[in-house]
Subunit: 85 residues, 2 copies
């Protein structure tokens, strides 16, 4: 399973686009705060596995390709823990 504290530490590279608190006003980027943990993990893996293309996928692939399964689990746990469910 994912570790919220570890995910927070690992999220620094995510924050420039997704906001320090997982909420961002850039309309083409998704808010992540309070998103379902398994969905977040699946979405990151989908980018990593080439199952999402178009839009910002090329950018996301650049970020996620170096993430381990544990990194993905930690990040998903962290963003799911933020804000309203």
């Amino acid at each position: 399973g994912g570790d919220v504290a570890a995910g927070k530490t690992k999220s620094t590279r995510c924050a420039s686009c997704h906001g320090a608190d997982g909420k961002i006003s850039i309309p083409t980027y998704p808010n992540l705060a309070g998103q379902n943990e398994v969905y977040l993990s699946n979405a990151l893996n989908a980018y990593k596995n080439g199952e999402r293309t178009g839009g910002m996928a090329v950018v996301m692939v650049g970020y996620v390709r170096s993430l381990s399964d544990q990194d993905i689990a930690d990040l998903a746990a962290y963003y799911a823990s933020l804000g309203e469910k």
Copy 2:
């Protein structure tokens, strides 16, 4: 642009998986409430255009293939209007 009221009417087919209020406890499905409007529109178009595969994409394609550009705009406006930004 999207019309919130029209989107609400059109969202009935979405609610079984994404919740009547755009929040759902099924962990593999994303919450939609308060998500950025342009992101939601882009995501629906990505499914429609075959730019998302794997996971639940085959289900989403079934739902979105019949949506017009206006339908997508209305649904995005509706879900973006819900809940916390």
